[in-house]
């Protein structure tokens, strides 16, 4: 298990993805899955950076683990209680004119990962994404 604790600021996104990518490369993950996992981690991390602590800066913990053939990545923050999975899915069959800009991120996460779990425990938001990597 590897862990990165970092200020939840959008500017730190490259560092977060570097951490994830180096672990994924070590574990032989292919490019397609790496991109999907990066995209999901970006979505969740940016959400924390934007909303979890409102105007203050708090920290985020990113945990990387291998479960069988899958990478399990957990993002933890101590900000306000927020379940990213509670949102309704956008209608992806709509045309460009009808589509809203936004609301897409979490949908992408749910659709590209094998499993997404959320729990609120000890005043922490704990979101885990799981994706088979080979």
């Amino acid at each position: 298990m590897k862990e990165l604790k970092i200020d939840a600021k959008v500017e730190n996104l490259p560092k977060v993805l570097e951490f994830i990518d180096s672990e994924l490369e070590n574990d032989g993950c292919d490019m397609k899955n790496q991109m999907k996992i990066d995209m999901a981690v970006e979505e969740l991390f940016v959400n924390i950076a934007h909303y979890a602590y409102r105007d203050k800066v708090g920290d985020a913990v990113i945990r990387y683990e291998i479960e069988g053939n899958s990478a399990a990545i957990t993002l933890i923050d101590s900000g306000s209680h927020y379940d990213p999975l509670a949102k309704d899915d956008p209608d992806v069959t709509l045309s460009a004119e009808e589509r809203q800009i936004g609301g897409l991120g979490i949908y992408m996460v749910k659709n590209s990962m094998d499993d997404v779990r959320y729990e609120y425990k000890d005043n922490k938001n704990i979101t885990t994404i799981v994706k088979s990597i080979n």
């Binding site: 996104l13 990066d38 970006e42 940016v46 992806v92 069959t93 589509r99 897409l104």
Partner: protein, 99 residues
């Protein structure tokens, strides 16, 4: 890191993207397009060197598509397999004209 190249001939604008189109780089592209699309009738994105796209990047493509629907057309070219998977997952493959 994202490198943006622009090639404007008459009313055709080709925008080449190289690197990563994510939360940190998407605003740069958005600004760049805002000042470039006036009078353009065909907008072409060349994604041959695009390594990564996130939802922030997709949002910029969607808003460009909306702009171009009003004034002409937009096509997306040289999409890698990885980026194409992201388009598929999000239903963007039906919205964009991918060549």
């Amino acid at each position: 890191m994202l490198n943006i190249t622009k090639d404007l001939k008459d009313k055709n604008l080709v925008v080449g993207l190289e690197g990563r189109l994510d939360t940190t780089t998407a605003p740069t592209l958005e600004e760049e397009l805002k000042s470039s699309l006036a009078g353009v009738e065909t907008l072409e994105f060349d994604l041959a060197k695009l390594e990564y796209i996130s939802s922030a990047g997709l949002r910029v493509l969607l808003s460009s598509q909306k702009t171009m629907n009003k004034q002409g057309k937009m096509v997306v070219k040289n999409v890698s397999e990885e980026v194409n998977e992201i388009f598929e997952v999000t239903g963007f493959s039906d919205i964009l004209t991918i060549e």
